[in-house]
Symmetry: C4
């Protein structure tokens, strides 16, 4: 499987670069959204950083398509990668994976499976929530009847949405804002189930472990 190993080598070689590009993309987008009054030069810088990062994602996608040797079926089979290519704001969520695979290659000790899944899902939710709060804030802030008017409100709204609490004190009112919100709910719920499920399995394991540990060995 020489083809597969070339794909694997590509993955290993670009992991870190693409992870950094994802964070640069998120950072530039955040600066673009949160500091609208910055000087024109800074503005151009951040926009070009965003587009450079996006271009890198596109090149990565193209190379992986090529190396996979799969033809047009690749788009459908790797639909998640395709979605992330079109909506690069979702890319930073993959940083969690990058971090894990680097940690593994270095041979650092890993948490137990359930704890790890819980931690990584929680991290993914945080990154997803931050991206979502930025996007909703951008969509809502200039709408005439909006009530999400500061980034703080947007973050608070994100917390109340991703935890499915949903107070309703801040709510998106634009169509774009609601689409982003619906996407956030869908991704957030799936990840939330993963967090709580893994966390609860981990607690059960620890409790049953404790039992075996502390029980005096036959007497």
């Amino acid at each position: 499987m020489d083809d597969d190993s070339r794909l694997n080598r590509w993955d290993r070689g670009t992991d870190l670069t693409l992870g950094i590009a994802s964070l640069v993309f998120l950072g530039s987008y955040a600066a673009h959204v949160l500091a609208p009054g910055m000087p024109k030069a800074a503005h151009v810088l951040f926009l070009s950083l965003m587009y450079t990062a996006w271009a890198m994602f596109t090149v990565d996608y193209a190379v992986r398509w090529r190396l996979s040797g799969e033809g047009p079926g690749f788009v459908r089979r790797h639909w998640l990668d395709t979605v992330v290519l079109v909506l690069p704001l979702l890319r930073p969520v993959r940083v969690v994976r990058t971090y894990e695979s680097i940690q593994r290659r270095r041979g650092e000790p890993l948490l137990p499976l359930h704890a790890r899944v819980a931690a990584y899902s929680a991290l993914s939710i945080s990154l997803l929530g931050f991206s979502g709060a930025l996007a909703v804030y951008q969509a809502e802030r200039s709408a005439p009847n909006a009530n999400i008017r500061t980034f703080g409100d947007s973050l608070w709204w994100t917390c109340s949405t991703l935890s499915t609490v949903g107070y309703g004190d801040y709510v998106p009112v634009t169509t774009l804002g609601r689409f982003i919100a619906a996407g956030l709910m869908a991704c957030g719920l799936a990840l939330l189930g993963t967090v709580t499920g893994s966390f609860s399995s981990w607690m059960l394991q620890r409790f049953s472990l404790n039992e075996d540990d502390r029980r005096p060995p036959e007497h």
Copy 2:
């Protein structure tokens, strides 16, 4: 079990037709609800499509009852089919099943079990939510003190309800609308648990798989 095999043959033979009829029913109902100002001819067309589809569901139910040779107990034992016969708007949710059984017969590769259950439940929720949004919109739009007044509001309300977020910015106020909403909550919650549960199992599997994959084989 000649009787059983006749039932199976009936199922296989009508699967696709009934699946299409379900989608036609949903489409006609959507047109009926969303375009109240359309010409009379179109109106009659959509209504007759709806009733034709419903008639096909009834015939299917009757034939399966007959072939099962079960007597009056059939109604109780297949209560889900009975409910779907009375509320045909729930029928499109079964399209997911039809799609699956056709895919299987063609021998197409299936996703792993947990991923498949997650995907099918997510699809079912989407179809259920679309039907529910239509029904609530129809029930609410002409109520004097309603706040769900456009189909967009109804869809947004459905998202916030099925994810159990429940902002409360849009809420059904008619008795019929609330009954539909309660039904939507009940079905939605059961399906949501299935989505998140299967998704989280799938993630766990992938994580534990990754481990075995990348671990160098003994050295």
Copy 3:
């Protein structure tokens, strides 16, 4: 274990009677709450039915205590029974259990385990929700600034609470109403987790069963 068998015989002998008494209690309470303007004779009738049922629960508790031969520890060990004795409105939830044990004794075919647990939890939630809606309605209806003013509103509030959607269009405002609501949330969440968990396990079983069923036997 003659003592234990006497307890079992008592349980078997009183199951049905106590189940009926529970439903009579719930019905009388519902009549008492929902028809405040009924004639005095009917009022007295319903109240005496309630107190008779409650007395039967007390006798049952006392006899089981006696037969268990456990001393004062019984109160703590069977704390759930103790709570139900003090709050008899929770008793109807046990009807689900009664129904099951009668069905089993008759040797009627049972649903598969997961489906049964899902069905019984769903039934328990419904009974719990009905009792809770009645109690909250009674606590709220005469409060000066209450917004739950009809039993319909109370039922709708219960649906939105037990599904954890929580629109907030109707909310209890009295201290008693909020205590009942908090209890409802606690019980409801535990039961809801049981419903969705079992339902999702059942779906997974059916999906994996289907696979084995339809797969052509080796060729």
Copy 4:
């Protein structure tokens, strides 16, 4: 492993003392928050109790660090202990663990695993909720546009938040209050998943046990 056994002996020797100190801390904090108008002497007493308890937590942390012989990595590896040291209001949640380990050492019979995890998580949620309600009340009560103005409102808000119902009738409006709320949601959700997951596993066990129990032994 003499080092480890010294750590264990330290744990066993300080368990009870630290558990009591945690409850004293919580009680003093509650008095401090809920009775702002108390005489100066009482105020000083409660504050000094709080600081004494906190000092004890610090000493315990330092000793355990020393005994572990781990160096600076201890802070990161025991990050949960570090967080609890900085936010001592979270400490009372650990009382549940203390209670369990004492009960075990005394050899008292334990509940089945799932029931125990459900019970302990439920207790932890209650303690967490009480601490959270206090902290949010302290943060909100003097804000000009706050709607959480009494401790009762704060408790009711906590119930509606931890159950993810989220009515939105009471909502924190200060930045500090929202940070506490976000922390409460995160911890609460993880614990809630543990409660409902364990409870539902326990129900399943009891149902499947019942089956084996009551089934007549082969005839």
